[in-house]
């Protein structure tokens, strides 16, 4: 054991000094002052606009004061940053390097907090400035309060057509996509032609723009004059077209989910005497579905939004309805309603999926 004795003293160098903090802290304070200036300007402009539109109210004033007060709150972290930076030098002078480093780190932390919240405040103020620009024309074009109030019921009623279309399409897509995915995974030589066809289908319809599929199916099938298929109601063609396209997407999602289940699970299931299909049904697909719920929701949200495309074949859905209102009133507020309705139905679904995933994970980790 000669090693230890041969070891030389390691050269650690000088202990690390506190990082610079004063400049950053004063910079943060300057940024806060600038933001307050911008806020005053923007809100002053807004107040003038409201006065001209005879929309002034004490509530609006209170809201504006609140925004200004929120911006003023930024002074607090900035002052903490400066106060902390003032503690660095005395600590250094007293020889307490550790305390000096802590003070500097704390000062920098508070500076960054000031800047982070300040950036967010600037973005919000920028948004207000945009919508009050051109004497408020911007906000009136998109958010005319009266139009929104008057036409929300009508647009919402038309939105039920979108809901009907995507609900039907989603059910069909779930079934059709799984069938295609399983077709792509059929093993052996006998399965080769089916695999090939399924692959071709996926390649074509994943590449085909949704709007063109809707257009071709919606106009083409009635045009071809097929018996029965030729005279279905328009939404049926929309559902069919969306199922074709999203079936291809979802088949890929299923397939990646099935692929992501380790092959040893298949081996274990087969070794117990389960057939290929039994193993898929009881062991592989249930595990795959748990993993694909989040990407599946993504595709479903895409599908829901794409129901707005069915207006190209003349389905009177919410978008089509809102466009009629928009051209009658020379104002886009009704179209904004449609967009907001789509957002409104998406958010609860996202939360539901979060809950499902969480619940499932808890269950698998839980005792009986």
């Amino acid at each position: 054991m000669t090693l230890a004795s041969e070891q030389t003293q390691l050269d650690w160098g000088a202990p690390s000094q506190p990082k610079a903090s004063g400049g950053l802290a004063w910079g943060a304070l300057a940024a806060v002052v600038a933001i307050l200036g911008v806020a005053t300007l923007v809100l002053f402009n807004l107040r003038g606009l409201l006065a001209r539109e005879v929309l002034s109210s004490s509530a609006a004033d209170a809201a504006m004061v609140a925004v200004l007060a929120a911006c003023t709150l930024l002074v607090w972290p900035a002052s903490r940053a400066i106060a902390a930076s003032f503690r660095v030098q005395p600590n250094l002078a007293a020889g307490d390097l550790v305390a000096a480093r802590i003070a500097a780190a704390s000062s920098r932390e508070w500076s960054f907090i000031t800047l982070g919240y300040g950036a967010a405040a600037l973005l919000v103020l920028g948004g207000i400035a945009f919508f009050t620009a051109n004497d408020g024309q911007v906000s009136k074009t998109f958010f005319d309060a009266k139009l929104i109030r008057d036409f929300t019921p009508l647009v919402a009623k038309a939105f039920m057509v979108n809901v009907l279309i995507f609900m039907c399409a989603e059910v069909l897509v779930l079934i059709w996509g799984l069938l295609v995915a399983i077709a792509r995974l059929i093993p052996g030589e006998a399965g080769r032609p089916v695999r090939f066809l399924a692959t071709v289908y996926c390649d074509i319809f994943r590449g085909f723009p949704v709007i063109i599929t809707v257009y071709l199916v919606g106009f083409g099938i009635p045009l071809a004059g097929l018996p029965f298929l030729g005279d279905l109601p328009l939404p049926c063609y929309a559902i069919f077209a969306l199922t074709l396209v999203y079936g291809a997407y979802v088949a890929e999602v299923y397939r990646s989910g099935i692929d992501s289940v380790h092959w040893s699970q298949m081996a274990a299931a087969r070794s117990l005497g389960l057939s290929h299909l039994q193993a898929l049904r009881h062991v592989i697909v249930p595990q795959a579905i748990r993993r694909i719920i989040p990407p599946l929701l993504n595709d479903f949200i895409g599908l829901q939004k794409d129901t707005a495309l069915v207006q190209v074949i003349g389905v009177l859905d919410s978008f089509n309805q809102s466009r009629i209102i928009a051209s009658n009133h020379f104002n886009l507020s009704a179209v904004t309603i449609v967009g907001l309705l789509f957002v409104l139905i998406t958010i609860p679904q996202a939360r539901l999926v979060d809950r499902l995933v969480e619940h499932d994970q808890r269950r698998m980790r839980a005792g009986g």
Partner: protein, 247 residues
């Protein structure tokens, strides 16, 4: 007549020959331990017997009937030949009880109540009846492996293949699993096990086979194999095992 016979079994993965004309026979109630360096084909052999891998040449016979190659009812073969893997491979989305009853219900068409009663009896034997409703994630590796053994046993196999079933376990969990195997051997189950637990092999085996380069290089009763092996390779292998403190 041997219960299980391998005659000139050849298996290659691409250009890599794993089994090169392997001959081996297992009699009923025998416990056959496969030992040998890693990559010698122990696991591959077990997987071939169970039909998880096809073989290129030779023949595998179960109770005199050919069970390799085309025309074999592979699902029926697997009902008679259970296999337990190194990595347990329990189904994570099913409770312990569901893991054990899946194949009896699905394949043997047992009524659920009957399958569950049998599963509970088996779980009780390994002291895990309290865990029946738990999911595999909640179990230790040793408990998971015991459940995996029970899952295979629920199909009433005639032969059990155990593929390095203790290799993935923490040392203190190994003995619980080996106890079950010892019980099985005592009850007369025909067992084939690939293992690195030489002490255990020496204790329970009726025959020890040293696999080398895709063949059974030497076989014999455990005392002979571990005490006084004839082949140079076998001696070399055992010497390294002893040096590693595993025997």
């Amino acid at each position: 007549m041997p219960l299980l016979e391998m005659l000139g079994v050849r298996k290659a993965f691409g250009s890599h020959d794993v089994l090169r004309g392997l001959d081996l026979s297992v009699n009923e109630h025998q416990v056959v331990c496969l030992i040998g360096p890693s990559g010698c084909g122990k696991s591959t052999l077990l997987r071939c017997i169970n039909g998880l891998e096809g073989i290129q040449d030779g023949e595998i016979r179960l109770a005199g009937d050919r069970v390799s190659g085309p025309g074999v009812d592979i699902d029926r073969l697997r009902r008679n030949v259970g296999i337990v893997f190194q990595s347990f491979n329990l189904f994570p989305h099913m409770s312990v009880l569901e893991n054990v009853t899946l194949a009896p219900i699905c394949v043997l068409k047992q009524p659920r109540a009957e399958a569950e009663a049998r599963a509970m009896a088996l779980l009780k034997r390994i002291g895990l009846e309290a865990k029946a409703r738990d999911y595999p994630d909640r179990l230790s590796g040793g408990q998971q492996q015991r459940v995996a053994i029970v899952r295979a046993l629920a199909m009433d196999p005639k032969v059990m293949l155990l593929d390095e079933i203790t290799s993935a376990l923490d040392p203190e969990l190994v003995s619980d699993v080996l106890d079950i195997v010892r019980d099985l051997a005592r009850q007369g189950m025909t067992l084939m096990l690939a293992t690195h637990e030489m002490g255990f092999a020496r204790e329970v085996a009726s025959k020890v086979c040293f696999l080398f380069e895709g063949r059974v290089h030497e076989e014999g009763p455990p005392d002979k194999m571990f005490g006084d092996p004839e082949e140079e390779r076998t001696r070399g292998f055992l010497k390294r095992i002893i040096e590693a403190g595993r025997l």
